[in-house]
Subunit: 458 residues, 2 copies
Amino acid sequence: MASAAVSYARQNQKRFLGELKDLLRIPSISTLPEHDNDVRKAAEFVVSDLRRIGMQNVQLISTKRHPLIYADWLKAPGRPTALCYAHYDVQPPDPLDEWITPPFEPAERNDNLYARGAVDDKGQLWMQIKAIEALMKSHDGKLPINVRFIIEGEEEVGGESIADFLRKNKSKLAADFALVCDTELFAPDLPTLCVGLRGLVYTEITAVGAKIDLHSGMYGGAAPNPFFALIEIISKLKDAKGRILIPGFYKDVKAPTKAELQAWKRLPFEEEHYRKTEVGSTALTGEPGFSVLYRTWARPTLEVHGMPGGFTAAGAKTVIPAKACAKVSMRLVPNQDPDDIFKKYKNYVKKLTPAGIQTSIKLWSSGPACVVGTDNRYIKAATEAMREVFKKDTVFIRSGGSIPVVADFQNVLKTPSVMMGFGLPDDNLHAPNEKFHIPNFYRGIESICLFFEKLAAA
Amino acid sequence: MASAAVSYARQNQKRFLGELKDLLRIPSISTLPEHDNDVRKAAEFVVSDLRRIGMQNVQLISTKRHPLIYADWLKAPGRPTALCYAHYDVQPPDPLDEWITPPFEPAERNDNLYARGAVDDKGQLWMQIKAIEALMKSHDGKLPINVRFIIEGEEEVGGESIADFLRKNKSKLAADFALVCDTELFAPDLPTLCVGLRGLVYTEITAVGAKIDLHSGMYGGAAPNPFFALIEIISKLKDAKGRILIPGFYKDVKAPTKAELQAWKRLPFEEEHYRKTEVGSTALTGEPGFSVLYRTWARPTLEVHGMPGGFTAAGAKTVIPAKACAKVSMRLVPNQDPDDIFKKYKNYVKKLTPAGIQTSIKLWSSGPACVVGTDNRYIKAATEAMREVFKKDTVFIRSGGSIPVVADFQNVLKTPSVMMGFGLPDDNLHAPNEKFHIPNFYRGIESICLFFEKLAAA
């Protein structure tokens, strides 16, 4: 680790952390229109630092909603080009009264930095920018490889603008690999690369029976009840063991390789501990014969998130609602085509719809699963860089969640991603008391420095 | 119809209608605390008229919520005693923008009086009071039979105070029969007595899985989903044909007599017309082999009214909620014991609850079905009175709904009810543009006059 960049980063840790705190003080909550100005302020803060550290062509790009940030430094001919991705928007902080210190007043406790966005994703965005600064300052104003940044402010609200932008600006974003810093370590001190994500098809079924809400006394026994219809339908989409019953649903599922499954078995994971501390239920569910990691990373699932309609206040109202809805999503695994799955799902729901009920289905979002190969130079360099920083072998994991932009990098830009994240499983993303473990912020900066230096040397 | 009372009623129709309009102008919405004063004003309006027409012991009785009204006139020794019941509170008027004229500005159109409460139940309450006035004025200040009034202001919010009051004041309410005016004619111009009501057990199941809301990407496939658990459970409570699957549920069901079923077949009812105009669905549902009237009046049913919990706003949120609920009710028929049914239901739900989920059940309301015999002098006199007014044979029907006070009159006071109502099926109870067909208001007054006169003569 005789890296001048790492040395620079170490000497500037306190300043880097102070800058991050300044960024965290801006409540850039992308979903709340009253915070639109704050979102813009956060973008301008980032733009200004990108300019200050020496990035070129720094641009704040207007979109239909929140601005994108582009920057590049492309003066390393013959060397690889990285596309650095992160986001500067954050989730709403509620419930506010569960925060120990206010969400937009960053506070240090036990080597952790507490604030909304600390780890998701401002802390990890700042890791990238500070790594670039360290590389730049320690290499006479040059970078060891070519670098582009594309940073968005809509990750927490669906990421429409970046999806649109990258379809229209493929050459502007041309790169050999993308560096995505929005994931986590599998366990504290365990260097981790995420090499697979599940896809998502998120739908809403609307069921309509009578023309108006009816009284269940007068009409119960004759009027069709859209809630009961949805219950009948959904009970037939998945069996009690978690197997999805949509015809053809599993046809294209590609299982992980034996080597990958073997590697997962070696990960430090204890099912009983996970059940008690992370889930907190009396039992876990899911398909028999598959481990928890297999089920959550590499098996498709179907969930119901909410069933709007009818009477939901306290007490009793004897209504047979004219209309009821169900938000139903499916997580997809590699090789399942979201369009194909949606079609099969839609046909099956229609087929299951009972007499007297009309169903219609809205597609709220759709994206494929994504796996990145591990035998390319980018993953190899990242693996080594993290091993050097953590002094432990890097593990490859998948995530059961979806990062749509990674699928877009893969499918639209044909650019593979390196998902190098430094969060921890208990960092409270999207929840009160979100935190970033401060040593991981510094390790992230150092890992990126070494990663890019290794790529230059390779 | 050489009745002096009827003559008096006819001469005073316009004034009676004018008084009713004054009562309708008071927005006595019992469920909204900001209308508590209006509810009281309506009660005082009624009290004042009861005094004016010559009723005795007129009392406004304070309760935990809205006042009860009591009055009596008991100077007809040897004659029967009637307990006249109605309610002076109304439902909220929303959605306001669907009213053609404002809900609390009574308006006449096409022989109908439009206002919130016109038929449910202020119009029918006023029918009773005006019949008593007509009888009193045309019989030298005397009534042909003994009369008590018990009038409530909480019918639309559960009727707790009257239930409590009648348990504690059985002798004060002692009567030979109750006259309940809160039902409807089976068809326009068809004199109708309601002789049966279904009971109700209204519950809410709460299902809990994980200790906190979880991300469906990270935890889908391992964390139990309380919505799916509820769907699994409820799908097994009733089959697709409407048959309830709770063990022992039908054991005590008492079917209507052959004569009653024969009489229902003679009623002017056209299933296709009912489907199109009242329900408006593409098909009706319910148990095969039973007619619509049988299914809605005399077969038990199970309905889902709402499923609070999870994510219900527009859009997509990938949450596996820690908790979800389902409001599930059962309509009961004669001889089914609500306590027994609730116990069977509760046990079955527990049995169906999948691993990893905890369910608990709240009982929101519970009451038995109720049938009144038709071969007593009260029903006979009512039948004849209505036949004379309408000049058609009176029909006996049941209602699929529940009027808990009727069950209480039966079970607590041991007093049979005569349910003589003058609403119409399209009167928009609980909906915008509630109306009362004005000729039916007058027929109601005349029917009650003749009914009581017949009882005196019998």
